[in-house]
Every structure is written in structure tokens, then in C-alpha cells.
């Protein structure tokens, strides 16, 4: 765990970081119109070294968002189209017998995972065995083959997409895999005005050409600044209570959680909220995390970590609704106002 800084970030440092992030966000908004909130979530997760699972119907710009992100960051980018016949070695790479100087030897050919930004397109179409090839890469940021462990490039992000409706021939991601994604961002349809803007600005639907706005060094600086964003103890307490309340046996768990959730979030969920909240605070130009940032990112950080009961489906409860109920039930401050005092 990182030690808390003893001083707050200087206003200038926060301002510089915010400017860089604003450039990144601005570029993404050129590509993905009318999705400001989605872009903020993706950027916050990126600043938290997190992986993002983008879920949405086809044609909503998921892949374009990831491609734009890699272009704007001038990072190495690879795309894997997940298919049912994809093998783990197609991702991690494999040893190939090669003859060199009269000697035959196994030479490692790195797979597409050795990159900075990995787009795992339609990730749920590959078999669980192949999906599992990403487990070590996402968590440890390294790959082990033939007993040899190789560290992945830094930074390393996995941005995966999946389609929530075409479920035939797909393999739902296991909980362990889902838990490794910092956010699961749901991309919804666009509004009519946004659609008009797309029609007027993009003749063939192609996004505008983007130039890199942040290089690798600047990105590393940004990561350093993000880590220096202060997380107050009261806010950390709020995150801890929120995550604890996702468990149905928790005393603070609301009734809906008790009724419809089988398993709550892992500690990784709390860590994800803390890290992503720092990124979001910096995006907003703040040297510290507040309750507001936590509430803002609670849903994308926690919803995919809840294992719902069958009753939830019968009653029409999805994870997002349960997170809303959770936010309503768990107060920001553990000890609220005295009953003799009432907010105006």
C-alpha cells in the first residue's frame, strides 16, 4: 500500500496534470460524441492503471474509443479479435522451434499481449481457457510460458469489449476475470442530437484523425501525480463501508443487497475505487479525493463484482440498481448528524 503524502499536491502540479488530462479527454470526445461520462470513467480507470471492460451493443464506438485512446497516448496498441478457436498461446505467444547457426532451439515469439494497450475485442467469444490466458497478464502484468516469466511493457492496459445481447456461442467471463477489470463501463445508445452531429461530421462514419497528446513520459508523470492525490481517512472509511455493505451478511447491507446478492465485492473492488477516485479527482483538478468522486465511480467499479442471486433476475434487479440502493443506504459519514439537527 502506498504511503500517504504529507503534503497536498501543489496547485501548479494539479493544474498541469489537469491540462494534460483535459487534452486526452478532449481528443476522446472528438471521437466518441455525447459520451462524456463514459470517457471520464475510462480516463479515470486509465490513470489508476486499471483495465476496462466496455459493454454495449454493436456500433456504439467501443472499439473506436480504445483505438483513439492508444493514438492519443502514442502507446503501442494491439487488437485481438476473440473467437471461439482462439488459443492461449495466440495471446501470450509461444516457443517455436527454430534453427540458428546449425542449432535447433525453441525461440519465444511474444504474443499480442506484449503491448501497452491491448484491445480484447468481443472477449466473451473466446473459450474460458483462452480468456484465462489474460489472468496473469492483467493482475501481475507479466506472462509465464514454459516456466519463463516475462514482464509486460509499462504501462499495460487491457480494454475489452463485449456484446450483452448476442450470447449464443459466447462464454461469460468468470468472476476471477471480471474482478480484474477496474471498471465495467456500460455504453448506452446515443441521443438524437448526437446522432445528427455524427451524420453531419462523419460521412463514412470514420472518426477524425487524432494526434498524440501525451507521450509515455508524460503519462508516467501523470501516474505519479495521481498516486499523490490525497485520500482522506473519512473517504477511505466510506469506501470500505460501501464495499463491505455489498456482502449480503453485512450489517450495513441494504435489504436489496441481502435479498439479491450471493457474493459481494472483493477487496480489489475497494482498491479499484480508491485508485480510480484519485484519477477522477485529478481530472476534476482536485488534490484530494472526496465523497463525490467515490459516489461517481461506485457503480462502474462495483457492479460487475457482485454475484447476483437468481431472485434478482426474476425480480428484474440488475447490478446497477443494487449499487444505487447501496449508495442510498450507506451514508457518506459513518456517524451522521444528531437527530436534533436537520439539514436545511
Amino acid at each position: 500500500m502506498m504511503e500517504q503524502t504529507k503534503t497536498l499536491l501543489a496547485p501548479e502540479a494539479v493544474g498541469n496534470a489537469q491540462t494534460k488530462i483535459a487534452r486526452l479527454v478532449g481528443g476522446l470526445r472528438q471521437v466518441l460524441l455525447g459520451k462524456e461520462e463514459t470517457i471520464d470513467e475510462v480516463v479515470a480507470a486509465l490513470l489508476a492503471h486499471g483495465h476496462v471492460l466496455l459493454e454495449g451493443l454493436p456500433g456504439l464506438g467501443k472499439t473506436e474509443l480504445v483505438k483513439a485512446l492508444s493514438r492519443l497516448l502514442s502507446l503501442d496498441f494491439r487488437r485481438i479479435q476473440f473467437t471461439p478457436d482462439l488459443l492461449p498461446t495466440d495471446i501470450t505467444g509461444s516457443h517455436i522451434l527454430q534453427e540458428r547457426d546449425g542449432r535447433k532451439d525453441f525461440v519465444f515469439h511474444p504474443g499480442p499481449v506484449f503491448t501497452n494497450v491491448l484491445l480484447a475485442d468481443e472477449i466473451n467469444r473466446a473459450s474460458p481457457k483462452t480468456q484465462a490466458a489474460l489472468l496473469e497478464a492483467m493482475q501481475e502484468r507479466r506472462v509465464t510460458t514454459f516456466g519463463e516469466t516475462r514482464v509486460l511493457p509499462n504501462p499495460f492496459f487491457v480494454l475489452a469489449t463485449q456484446n450483452p445481447i448476442e450470447l449464443e456461442g459466447t462464454y461469460p467471463l468468470p468472476e476471477a476475470q471480471l474482478d480484474r477489470f477496474t471498471f465495467k463501463v456500460e455504453i448506452t445508445g446515443v441521443e438524437r442530437t448526437v446522432l445528427e452531429e455524427i451524420l453531419l461530421t462523419r460521412i463514412h462514419g470514420e472518426p477524425p484523425a487524432l494526434a498524440p497528446v501525451i507521450d509515455a513520459d508524460e503519462l508516467q508523470d501523470l501516474f505519479t501525480v495521481v498516486d499523490a492525490v490525497h485520500l482522506p481517512r473519512a473517504v477511505a472509511n466510506y469506501i470500505a463501508r460501501l464495499v463491505a455493505a455489498t456482502h449480503p451478511k453485512s450489517a450495513e447491507a441494504p435489504e436489496q443487497i441481502r435479498n439479491f446478492v450471493k457474493y459481494g465485492s472483493s477487496p480489489r473492488g475497494a482498491i479499484a475505487i480508491g485508485a480510480a477516485a484519485r484519477g477522477l479527482a485529478l481530472l476534476r483538478g482536485k488534490p484530494n479525493v472526496g465523497f463525490d468522486e467515490v459516489r461517481r465511480i461506485a457503480a462502474p467499479a462495483l457492479a460487475h463484482r457482485l454475484v447476483l442471486d437468481y431472485a434478482a433476475k426474476l425480480e428484474g434487479f440488475d447490478a446497477r440498481r443494487l449499487i444505487d440502493a447501496l449508495l442510498d443506504a450507506v451514508p457518506e459519514v459513518e456517524r451522521g448528524l444528531p437527530q436534533t439537527l436537520g439539514a436545511r
Partner: protein, 433 residues
Amino acid sequence: MFLDIWPRWALGSLLAAGVVTIACRLFFPAAAVALNWLWLAPVVAAIPAVFLAMARAYRPEQIAALADSLHGGQGTLLALLEIRDPAWTASPAITGFSQFSMPRLRVWRRLATMAPAAAFLYIALMLPQHMPAGSNGVLANDIAADLQATLDELKKQDLITPSEDKEFEEQIEHIRKDAIERLDASSWEASDSMREKFAAKVTEKQDALKWAADSLSSLAAPGDSDASMTEAQAGELGTAINKLAKSGLLTNAPADLQKLLGGKDAIAGGKTQLPKDARALRKLAASLSGYLANRSEKLTGIAQLGKAAGRFDPSEFPLFSDERGPDGDGDPGSGGVNRGRGDAELTWGKESAMFDRFKSQPLPPGSFRSPDDWAPLAVLPGGPKELPELSVASAAVQYAGVAGQAAWRRTLAPRHYSAVKKYFENSAVEPNK
């Protein structure tokens, strides 16, 4: 914090005080004088509430967290509290706190919850004090036992008939139950009244005995050789004996006496018959004379029963301690309702004994006037005009013929005709009803 804790504690203390009050009203009369102190329960509850409030007081970081949360949850205030970095003190997030509106204090809403509990305690205090049945029961049984002892003594002396015994038993039980329910001066008044009944019954029997004795002595007096006179005295004796029989005094009379009077059934029914022949009558007189003498001696002893009047202890019913009572009384003639003249000495418990209140004075023996016991005032010519015995209705009609019908034919309003006619028609059909 104190206002968060204390109203609940005060509410609980008031409810507890109300429950205690009801319990005392029902079971602990001695605690009645101290019940008003229970109004101090909320004050007492404030003492631990103060300590609890001090222990639960908000720490500065908790206050800051609350303020930050109420102000939008920016977290800047919290960060500055933890890391006192002056660089951010002028940030908009901090300067915005100058317009922070403080939460409103809602004291009355909290205190209002105490009102029903206070009303509960007030109502509980207004309840009348219930005297436990146990304490009344002892005195009630005491009263009933005294009466029962008197009754038993009367029964032992054959002065009570079975029907009277049953009636008295019921009345004693009634007095006992009333006293258990509510014990006050009226309980002893009822007891005294019961004793007076006993005394009246004994007096009645004494009178019957005396009457019989007097009748017997007049019958046996020498010189009364007139047959008609003897017959009248015998008739009076017969009536006196019937009275004696009805009072139950002959129930245990000697067998020969009972036989002379017509047997047990005749005595029980109060329809005795005197023997017709003079010898048997003399024998009856002799036997009855001895029996009556014996009974008179016993009755004299029984009369002492009435001396033990009902107990009344004035200390159990304290009068107003102040000379001038709450009714404004105290001086004679100043009005008010009290137990007597203000300057009169009250002699509770020292009343005259039942038999001393009214000294009995023997009256001369009564006797029916004999048709022969008259003196002519005037002698009218001709014999008396005899009228045949008439029924009431026909006598009235006949009388109406000579009396101008004024007595029974009155002027009636037309609306009363039918009612009067209907009444007299029925009377004419059944004149004896």
C-alpha cells in the same frame, strides 16, 4: 449530543414513572405520598445522559467529515484537516464553506415526544388509590365474625327461626363482601344496623313472651268467674300464643305443651288451638307458665348481647387535622358539612349500647273491648233496624241513593269517561279485587 440522548431517556423515565405510579396505586398505598416526586425522573435521567453525551461527543474530524459531506462531499476540508497545507486554503472549495448553512436545531420536535409520556404519568397520578383487598378482608371478616357470633348465640337460645337465620346469614355475608370491596364508616354502620335488627328481633320476642305471660296471668287471675270474660281472655291468650309460636319461641317447648297447643305443625304454622275443656286449659296454663318463666330468664341474659356495639376506630378515618377544615367549618353556625357542631366533643366508639338507648317501658296489657263492656247513652224507641249484608258495589249504589250520589258520582271531564267507566265496570264484575 445531549439533546439526542436525553429526550429518549426522559421519555423512558416518564413511562417507567407512570408504570411505577400505577403499580403503587394498585398495590402500595403507603407510597402514595411520595409519588409526586416521580416528576423528577427526567431530571434524574439527565445526569447519566450528560455523561453519555460527553463520552459520545463528536471529534473534530467527525465534524469536519459531516460538514464536508453536507457541503457537497468535495473532501477538500478533510484533506486540509489532515494535511495542513496552506497552498489550498484559498481554493474555491474552502472559501465556499463561508456560505455553508448550518443545520437547523430541532429541539422541540425531540422534546415533543416526551409529551405523551408526561401525560401518561399525569393520568397515572390522577388515578384513585386502590386499597388492597387483603387489608380490607381482615377487618371485613372481623365485622362479620362479630355479627356471626351474636347470631350463633341467638340460635343457641332458640330465638331465631330457620327462615330468620337464613336471612341474617345472607345479610352478614353481604356486609362482609361490601366491607372487602370498600371499607369505611358505612361498614360499621351496617354492622350496627345488623345488631339493631338482632336487638329488635329479641325485643319482639320479649314482647311476645311478655304478652303471653300477661295473658296467662290475666287468665289465671282469681275472681274472673264470668264465662264470657274467661272466653275473651282465653282468646287473647290464644292470639298471644300464636304470636309466640310465630316468633319461634315454642319450637323447642316441652312435648306436653306442644301437644296441648295442637302439635308441632300447628306451632310451626302459628295456628295453635287452645284446649276446650277447663282442665286441659289449666294444665296448659301451668305448663306454659313454667316454660315462659324459663324463657324470660334466658332472654334477660340474651339482652346483654346488644351491649357489644360495632367497633369504630376513628383513627382509621382521620378527620381534618386543621381545626378549620377544608369545608370552611370549624365554628358553630359557620356552615359547611361536617360531623357535628364544631365545638361538640365527638365520642366515636363510645356510643350508647343498643339496649340502653331507649329504655323500654312496660305498657298496660292490651285487651279487646268486649261487646258487653258498654254503657247505654240513650234508649231509642223500637228495635234496631237490621240491614242485610250487601256487597261493596251494591252498598255503594244503595248509599248513593240516599247520599245524593255526591261521593261516587263526580263531574268528570268527557275525556275521562271511558277510563272511569272501564275501571268501575271491572270493579263491578270483580268487586273484591
